[in-house]
């Protein structure tokens, strides 16, 4: 009797070790690996696998921490912002309070506990809905991080021994942070799957009231999950800082959504009560391998978002429709009644995804088919055409979009293969990831518009060690990390030109306001610093306020409207982000304020209407076409070893002779574009 009865009782509540969803995901993962081994270069190699692991660690930690939270039926949207806050606290503790690294790390962990504790208190003690609480703390943590650093402070120059945690190798093979990840992963496995705490998380997620009646301290256990999530996010922040070599308030932006995607992909039910950490691990790899494979196959980064969405929906819907073995829940009938309409919807969904996949394939085949055709074009083509990989800071930015046209011109003229890819938003870690992938793919030259100087230099040095030529453009890395920098204009020249223009238009006297990009944008912050320095020359010119536009035209528009009324003395708006100039221009035009000037840094094409009607007086820029052209031309010359190290000038195709100074190829002074000459520019 003793053997039979409890056995039967336990079996009812047993959660299968490998739920159906995990099998589907495993199949999808294997499918991905098979596909990418065929279409991507050097995908199936140990070194590539190791690099994928390295880039998965921070995201993986967040996903692991989120798994128990979601199993309790909750959610934590604040993990990415918590990373930003902990990174900044770590940097401040180390540099401003002069604490040694281990002590600073402890302070950062304490901030994680405090943040997680705040969520825990509001959710478990006050019983507020987790989605709302963490939506609030999502804004608040990032806001505090931006507040303390004024979004501009970037803590760098951490000691080498600390950076080894994020950039070094153990035994020359394993990235140093990977064991840390698996240690924490193992701890979570024990906690979630092998302890009473873990069982109570499942119980709370299945039925919180039932769990309370069963004697589980629901509020305490619930709080623990959020507390641990804050703590783990701060660990992820420390690894992120070591990995990129910088601590800035934008660390981990957007990570919360990727982490939730990984968890849900791994079969954890968003309603709680079901899921496991092994699934999360698989979901994480499915995401990382998808991105890695797309990079190695030189497919555009945008595809990864589209495919991630399709993968997520199809895995979850398949999982919904496969019978779940081993779980008998009271609220589910034994037989699932399938309605015809439901089958129709499922078929439609599958059909739509199939169409999208087919469309992608057509595009793929076309892109594969195009290269051999181009190969035959230059008569002198040898067996190996040089491959030049060029990275903008952000792909969708009109500024970089227009540089691409020039880059393509040069590639066509020289008969080289061009890979043009970059982050789809300003995410510092994505640039490093892409370069690692290009190293694995063994391109001949890499040209980068650098988003974060300290972090990217390490990986660029690695590329140079592997014999890949490295050039920087638009913004520079550390000088020893690249061979040349294609310099369009120095930050100081840009800032001075803008300030001088402002002084000229205002007659040397008056108030002006700056509309910047994101508050954290490194380039813009550097310009602002130089602008403030230049103001010493104009004592009667006063900077009234600095407002962010987040590179969004509509936000720039709204901010300008407010400035015009809140600061009536402001007679000039200086917009230093490409979409902000037309936004500010439109605001001034609609307000009918003829007495307010707008100047800025933008593309002639999008400012043309405003320059013509006199709302925008001056746009400062350089020819983005020429910059793209020079980048590819210079890279190709490097590949063919045509630039001697002591060169004073180079002959850059249609651009003619360009000066080379201190490892920088100078494009020329910035252009001052106004009503008289704007129609000459086609970018």
């Amino acid at each position: 009797m003793r053997e039979v009865l409890p056995e039967a009782g336990i079996k009812q509540f047993r959660i299968p070790v490998v739920p159906a969803g995990v099998w589907i995901l495993l199949a999808a993962l294997l499918g991905q690996v098979a596909l990418f081994s065929v279409i991507a270069q050097n995908f199936l190699s140990a070194s590539n696998f190791v690099e994928v692991l390295r880039f998965s660690v921070e995201l993986g930690l967040l996903a692991v921490a989120l798994t128990p939270v979601i199993i309790t039926g909750g959610i934590d949207l604040s993990v990415g912002s918590m990373m930003g806050l902990a990174a900044v606290v770590f940097g401040a503790a180390w540099r401003d309070w002069n604490l040694p690294v281990p002590a600073a790390a402890c302070v950062a962990l304490l901030s994680g506990i405090a943040g997680g504790g705040l969520n825990a208190f509001l959710i478990s003690k006050l019983q507020l809905p987790p989605l709302i609480v963490t939506l609030g703390s999502f804004w608040m943590f990032r806001g505090i991080a931006e507040g303390i650093t004024h979004a501009a402070v970037n803590y760098t120059d951490f000691p080498k021994s600390f950076l080894a945690l994020g950039q070094g190798y153990l035994a020359n093979v394993i990235p140093a942070q990977v064991p840390v990840f698996f240690l924490i992963f193992a701890a979570y496995v024990v906690l979630l799957h092998r302890s009473t705490v873990g069982r109570s998380w499942y119980a709370i997620g299945s039925n919180a009231a039932g769990a309370r009646y069963a004697g589980i301290p629901v509020s305490r256990r619930l709080g623990l999950a959020y507390l641990l999530s804050g703590l783990t996010s701060s660990i992820a922040a420390i690894i992120y800082v070591a990995h990129l070599g910088q601590a800035r308030s934008d660390a981990g932006t957007g990570y919360e959504l990727d982490a939730i995607t990984a968890v849900v992909l791994g079969g954890t039910s968003i309603f709680g009560g079901r899921g496991n950490l092994w699934g999360t691990l698989l979901g994480l790899f499915a995401l990382s391998i998808l991105q890695n494979g797309l990079h190695l196959a030189a497919l555009p980064s945008e595809l990864s978002g589209v495919l991630t969405g399709i993968l997520l929906v199809s895995v979850i819907s398949l999982e919904q429709w496969l019978p779940r073995r081993g779980i008998h829940r009271l609220d589910q009938p034994e037989e699932v009644q399938v309605k015809n309409s439901q089958v129709a919807v499922l078929c439609a969904a599958v059909l739509v995804s199939a169409l999208i996949v087919a469309g992608t394939n057509v595009w793929l085949v076309r892109s594969v088919g195009r290269s051999p055709e181009e190969k035959t074009a230059p008569a002198t083509a040898t067996a190996h055409r040089p491959v030049i990989a060029v990275m903008p800071k952000a792909k969708g930015d009109p500024y970089f979009v227009s540089a691409r046209a020039g880059a393509e011109d040069a590639a066509r003229e020289l008969g080289v293969d061009l890979i043009w890819d970059g982050p789809t938003n300003l995410e510092a870690a994505k640039q490093n990831e892409l370069i690692e992938n290009w190293i694995t793919r063994r391109v001949d030259a890499i040209a980068v518009a650098v988003e974060n100087k300290a972090g990217i230099s390490t990986v660029l040095r690695k590329a140079r060690d592997r014999g890949i030529h490295v050039l920087t453009w638009d913004a520079d890395a550390e000088p020893d990390a690249r061979e040349f920098f294609a310099n369009q204009a120095t930050s100081e020249a840009i800032a001075n030109t803008l300030t001088d223009e402002a002084a000229r238009l205002l007659g040397g006297k008056g108030d002006f306001a700056i509309i910047t990009g994101a508050l954290t944008a490194a380039n813009q912050n550097e310009w602002i610093a130089f602008i403030k320095r230049r103001l010493d020359k104009y004592p009667n010119l006063k900077l009234a306020t600095i407002r962010p536009s987040d590179d969004d035209r509509d936000k720039a528009f709204a901010e300008t409207q407010t400035i015009l009324k809140a600061y009536p003395a402001v007679k000039l708006i200086m917009a230093i982000s490409a979409p902000a100039v037309p936004g500010s221009g439109e605001a001034v035009r609609q307000a009918g304020r003829k007495d307010v000037n707008v100047i800025g840094l933008s593309l002639p094409s999008i400012c043309k209407p405003y320059v013509h009607d006199g709302t925008v007086q001056t746009v400062v820029l350089w020819s983005t076409h020429d910059l793209g052209y020079l980048t590819v031309y210079g890279s190709a010359m490097l590949v063919e070893n045509k630039i001697p190290t002591a060169a004073k000038s180079i002959q850059a195709g249609r651009l003619g002779k360009l000066e080379v100074r201190d490892g920088e190829i100078i494009l020329g002074p910035p252009l001052i574009i106004n009503k008289a000459n704007i129609d000459q520019f086609d970018f």
Partner: protein
């Protein structure tokens, strides 16, 4: 008194608005200039219109975080349709259909396949945004016909048109949610799906429809926003979903479903929309703005939790 007791959320936001207005009246009276209020209104109308749809979605116990991406696609679509030579009304209709279609896909996956809405709309948020980036390669829609801006109205008459349309939508939804069977079905589905099903409500259809409506309104909001300009960027609506959801939640809708009002959401959106520029007027540094807004959301939620706990006793 009964009104205050039954409309605790709306009353407390209205009180917060009055306090804010009082502070501004003393510290920065320029805030109440007619042009400023009109600009604020026009700027927040898109958020307001989407918030109407989001209120339905949240009351039905679901969430839609793909509205920002949908908004970006509809903005570009409006421009492309007009450039293709469609007359303005047809282009507006076409844009709403595209928005509604994208909403319907979400609705079908949530309502008929039973996939959690946060998962579905997370997937469509990422997929739609990146698909648009891929398609446009970041290019803006330019050279729009001259009558696109302001719908062919003048700059001075356009606000009146928008205010009338939006007021009509607000009144219609507020009335419909209280008086129409469809509106009550949304509340029933949100507060107890199984009970609603047993009472004869087709809950799958209700869920499908709230996403459809949210999509339609997103398309319409994209049009209302686009016609204020003469070119259309391809990255519109970044972070819009957070703004809308925050407004609705501050307005007292419960994320667990079944609770919330259109009036509350409108007040919530107005409060959050008024605070951003108010901080500029008060001279608060932009660097602290986000922290303050997060704090307000938390404060609002804590307030409701306390009042809910109070009413239980």
């Amino acid at each position: 008194m009964t009104y205050i007791r039954t409309h605790r959320e709306e009353v407390s936001i209205a009180a917060a608005l009055i306090v804010l207005a009082g502070v501004l009246a003393i510290a920065a009276p320029g805030y109440f200039a007619r042009e400023n209020l009109s600009d604020l209104l026009l700027g927040n109308v898109p958020v307001l219109v989407i918030a109407l749809g989001m209120t339905l979605v949240i009351i039905a116990g679901q969430i839609d975080i793909s509205v920002g991406s949908n908004f970006a696609i509809c903005s570009v679509a409006a421009g492309v349709l007009v450039k293709a030579g469609l007359p303005l009304p047809a282009a507006v209709l076409g844009t709403c259909v595209i928005g509604g279609g994208l909403g319907a896909i979400n609705g079908a996956l949530v309502g008929y396949l039973g996939i959690p809405s946060i998962v579905v709309t997370l997937a469509s948020m990422v997929a739609l945004r990146d698909a648009l980036r891929w398609q446009t390669q970041g290019a803006w829609v330019q050279d729009l016909p001259i009558n696109f801006q302001w719908f062919g109205f003048s700059q001075s008459s356009y606000p009146t048109v928008v205010i009338l349309t939006t007021t009509f939508l607000m009144v219609f939804f507020a009335w419909g949610m209280r008086k129409l069977a469809a509106g009550r079905a949304v509340y029933a589905t949100g507060s107890n799906p199984e009970g609603a099903r047993l009472a004869g409500i087709d809950t799958s259809l209700v869920v499908f429809c709230v996403f459809l409506v949210a999509g339609l309104l997103t398309g319409f909001a994209a049009v209302l926003n686009s016609v204020r300009f003469n070119q259309i960027p391809s990255n519109g609506g970044l972070g819009l979903e957070m703004k809308v959801i925050a407004g609705v939640v501050v307005g007292g809708a419960a994320i667990t479903g079944g609770v919330g009002t259109v009036a509350g959401s409108v007040l919530g959106v107005v409060l959050l929309g008024a605070i951003g520029p108010a901080l500029t007027f008060l001279g608060v540094s932009a660097y602290w703005e986000r922290a303050i807004q997060g704090g307000i959301i938390l404060a609002a939620v804590i307030n409701y939790a306390r009042s809910a706990a109070g009413s239980r006793h």
